[in-house]
């Protein structure tokens, strides 16, 4: 059926409940879209069309709809998962050559929740290796492309998940965000991406990068769709001791166009050096638009922002060096063909399996945690983390949300930064402080520069995704950036 692929979750649901399309029609339309465009976009590492068709037909969604019974909000909706989220019986690589054939014996909690909701898994998406990167160029397999300009990166690390949604291959996907890996690709691809509050969504079954920063979240075409997906995946999970046991509100109720009384903070440090003036002015225009709808805005300061990047690149690699110690050539993953004793087995297997960026982060983390350097690096970085959190807390005494650009620039060209690890890391400079403080952050499209989307980042108080959604929805309803489609 024509015209199905590219629709939002909400629109697809209307087709299903009104009987205009069957769940199989919906799955097949998206499979056809993937076949038509993914040779150019390259969003998928492992498409799973058979699984999607089976789920779409097994779930008996059409019969329920025909009877007029209510169906789960995501029933019959195809989705994609970043390939660092475990899927039982389906290859999960984390974008790494060290896991070329890992078949998880269990599902991540988010996978279970979406499958239980009747959604149809249509494939696993490409990402930077172990979620370390900002362009998918660190994928051990191939880089993905930005649907708005195939010569440019989709962002990363959840670049495949973002490109798949922007290309109309799937109405929603999940990514993971450790320093911006959902919001930055969402901004580059002109879609909505949410990193929930740390602890809002279970991390069980997510291949760990930096456990105190990682969080799973949705990538969608609209704010309301992000709320629908968060409804399905949020909540306490006994299998993740850091998931928080607090009630999950219906986030779609927060999606109302109402900026009255909303107090917006605009942190100066997010508009300074390194931020493209064009991006800054598009974002300031978004703030003005919300003020025209009844919000008030005021500049504010988050002075420790300039130390966030350095402390992030101590904390995240330190945790990574520990988390990635599990890849030893014994339990799963790549094992060297050369036999060289038990130490040599580990050293060679890891050297052959890991890519350069991952090795770099393991090295820096190992060094930062080693005897004699702990106080100078790791402890100091954690103290900076306290400062960052305190400054956000103080800002949230005066403001309901903070508005910033999601990224300093629009999408860059493939190869433009791949030889310069430091330049690449600056792509996350406006998103990673949000992870350091554990706050919710959402990116949504707020304009275009030379045909490339610009992302507006909305940062909220811990566990106040509702105000973030309200702000985002109000802006979205007053603009039509989200309705634009990349032509492929």
């Amino acid at each position: 059926m024509n015209g199905i692929a590219g629709k939002t979750v909400r629109e697809l649901r209307e087709l299903l409940t009104s009987g205009q399309a069957s769940a199989r029609d919906v799955a097949e339309a998206h499979i056809a879209r993937i076949e038509a465009v993914d040779s150019r976009v390259r969003a998928f590492l492992t498409p799973t069309p058979d699984v999607a068709i089976r789920q779409a037909t097994d779930a008996d969604i059409d019969a329920s709809c025909a009877r007029g019974d209510s169906i789960a909000p995501l029933a019959g909706i195809p989705f994609a998962l970043k390939d660092n989220i475990c899927t039982r019986g389906i290859r999960t690589t984390a974008g790494s050559r060290i896991l070329p054939n890992f078949i998880p014996p269990y599902d991540a909690t988010v996978t279970v929740r979406l499958l239980d909701a009747g959604s149809a898994l249509i494939g696993k998406t490409n990402c930077d290796e172990f979620a370390m990167g900002s362009s998918t160029e660190n994928s051990g397999y191939f880089p993905s492309r930005n649907p708005w300009d195939l010569e440019r990166v989709p962002g990363g690390s959840s670049g495949g998940s973002a490109a798949a949604v922007a290309a109309g291959e799937v109405p929603f996907s999940l990514g993971s965000d450790t320093g911006g890996s959902i919001r930055q690709p969402a901004a580059f691809c002109g879609i909505v991406g949410l990193k929930p509050t740390y602890g809002r969504v279970s991390r069980y079954g997510l291949v760990a990068y930096a456990s105190s920063l990682d969080q799973i979240g949705p990538l969608t075409r609209t704010v309301e769709d992000a709320a629908l997906v968060l409804n399905a995946i949020a909540g306490h999970d006994p299998l993740d001791s850091t998931s928080v046991n607090s009630p999950v509100p219906d986030y779609t109720l927060a999606c109302r166009a109402d900026a009255k009384g909303l107090r917006i903070g605009v942190p100066r440090q997010y508009f300074g050096e390194g931020v493209d003036p064009g991006v800054a002015s598009v974002v300031r225009a978004a703030v003005d638009l919300l003020c025209g709808l009844g919000a008030t805005a005021e500049e504010c300061d988050l002075p420790s922002t300039e130390y966030a990047l350095a402390s992030y690149y101590i904390i995240a690699p330190s945790e990574a060096s520990s988390n990635l110690a599990r890849f030893d050539g014994v339990k799963y993953g790549h094992r060297t063909k050369e036999l060289a004793g038990h130490i040599g087995l580990m050293e060679k297997s890891r050297d052959e399996g890991f890519g350069d960026e991952v090795k770099q982060r393991i090295m820096i983390g190992t060094y930062a945690l080693s005897a004699g350097y702990y106080d100078a690096y790791y402890k100091r970085a954690q103290q900076v983390r306290t400062l960052i959190r305190r400054e956000f807390d103080a800002a949230f005494e005066r403001f309901d949300v903070l508005l910033t650009p999601t990224t300093p620039t629009t999408a860059f060209k493939l190869g433009e930064k791949s030889g310069d690890p430091l330049a690449m890391k600056l792509a996350d400079v406006l998103t990673l402080p949000v992870n350091m403080a554990g706050l919710p952050g959402l990116s949504l499209p707020c304009g275009f520069i030379d045909g490339l989307p610009v992302g507006l980042q909305i940062i909220g108080r811990p566990f106040d995704e509702e105000t973030v959604f309200r702000t985002a929805y109000t802006y979205e309803q007053a603009t039509d950036w989200h309705a634009r489609r990349a032509e492929l």
């Binding site: 014996p105 790549h334 094992r335 060289a340 038990h342 087995l345 900076v384 690890p421």
Partner: protein, 96 residues
């Protein structure tokens, strides 16, 4: 403070990464670039600031001590590069 190649080699051993000479050179350059960035932190006054390891308060989690099934052994060993008789196969560790 620049790390020498020997120091980088030692970090690689701790990290269980066997880097060839070219890689060692590359990693050494990247490591020193990053360390130079970290210097910015040394000028910051953090005296009396508590380190923060998690952004949300963490509490010890208790549950009833009830046994429940773990993953089937065969399913787990399925992903092992080499296994036999329900065990992972590794190189000989003890001589003799």
């Amino acid at each position: 403070m620049e790390l020498t190649l020997d120091e980088v080699r030692k970090v690689a051993l701790l990290a269980r990464l066997e880097l060839d000479p070219d890689e060692l050179e590359l990693q050494s350059r990247h490591l020193n670039d990053l360390l130079a960035q970290f210097e910015a932190l040394q000028g910051l006054d953090v005296s009396g600031i508590e380190p923060n390891s998690h952004s949300v308060p963490l509490f010890n989690v208790m549950r009833e001590d009830i046994s429940r099934p773990s993953l089937p052994r065969d399913a787990v060993l399925e992903n092992a590069p080499e296994s036999r008789d329900g065990c992972f196969i590794v190189p000989r560790i003890i001589e003799g």
